[in-house]
Symmetry: C2
Subunit: 205 residues, 2 copies
């Protein structure tokens, strides 16, 4: 037999689903085929619910026209909430970052989701992010502080630096979350970069 056994044996719809699952991030071919064979055996109702949920998310969910967080309405729940502090905007890379910050309960201001970070090598430039929209908000809204909560890595730092350059002339306070030792961590195991930031940012007791 010259045909590869998998092609000879795996029915086309099965191969196609394995392929589609494997296109998702973090799902390799082994996991993709495990998920496919699971759905083959599952109740038709479960498979339909999953397919429908995927279609619904694309059809019903969009971006807040003010902060670009995800929402089913024109404005997201945070932008609609008058009790939020309208003088602060926390800038993040992704909608999941909003959730992470909300879970801390430590922030009551507004957000602005950039939808990425500057990465010229990956072909992501300033105009691909919601940066002009942020500048427009800072100009028109009663903002006095912009917190640049992009990721504490190279791309996030570069993006924050670029934003600082754009925001500085607008006379608004620009801050960045502290870098330091993670709570519950062990000083002995901290990487030199983190330990260095922690020492540099030390505070009076």
């Amino acid at each position: 037999m010259t045909v590869h056994p998998d092609h000879y044996l795996i029915a086309a719809p099965v191969a196609r689903l394995i392929e589609e699952f494997a296109r998702l991030p973090g799902i390799g071919p082994k996991t993709a085929s495990r998920l496919t064979f699971y759905l083959l055996r599952a109740e038709p109702k479960q498979a339909q619910a999953l397919a429908q949920a995927i279609l619904d998310v694309k059809a019903q969910v969009g971006y807040c026209r003010r902060c670009f967080n995800i929402t089913v309405d024109e404005l997201c729940p945070i932008c609609r909430d008058p009790s939020r502090d309208q003088t602060k905007i926390c800038v993040v890379e992704e909608p999941l970052d909003v959730l992470a910050i909300e879970r801390t309960g430590a922030y009551r201001g507004l957000y602005h989701v950039l939808h990425g970070h500057i990465a010229p090598l990956e072909g992501i430039y300033r105009e691909d992010l919601k940066i002009d929209e942020l500048i427009a908000r800072v100009r028109s809204e009663p903002v006095n502080e912009v917190i640049l909560a992009t990721n504490p890595n190279t791309e996030g730092e570069a993006t924050a630096f670029l934003l600082l350059r754009d925001l500085a002339p607008l006379g608004v306070r620009v801050t960045r979350p502290a870098r330091g030792l993670p709570t519950g961590g062990d000083l002995e195991w901290a990487d030199p970069e983190t330990l260095g930031s922690a020492l540099e940012g030390r505070r009076e007791l």
Copy 2:
């Protein structure tokens, strides 16, 4: 705020998709939300292709009426292939096991997929598996050997033992794949059970 931030913030269709992903085996809530936010950002075409592939698999794929392997036709490609050795049936637990054995290229007979193993504690009994269908095949087809390739674990052994009892009176040869040291493995690291089986099954050189 007394509302849990996630419920307040995550739009219903997003929460529903996270939930559906998290019902899949090996997908925890973190991975489920990562996949959901990935699809939110993905091309609508990719999300539609995934949803359609899920629906197609359930609508178009069924089980071979002879061996219960998966197929889009009445008979699977192996049962339709007259060049396969019609005197041997290899009994496996799941359709994925057929693929694993086919990839070895070491077997040219037919298969029979039980769709599970005996596990009374999980409520899986003899009648939940395709055992009567196997007995009927051995009675009506020109079979002279049945290879019990259920998994080499407790449930697989119990299932093989039960099948042996049913097959013995039919005058057919009943075999089980050898247990021993895995190729490329290290004797020092083999578990006692495997090493014991390997010694017991030793062969003349």
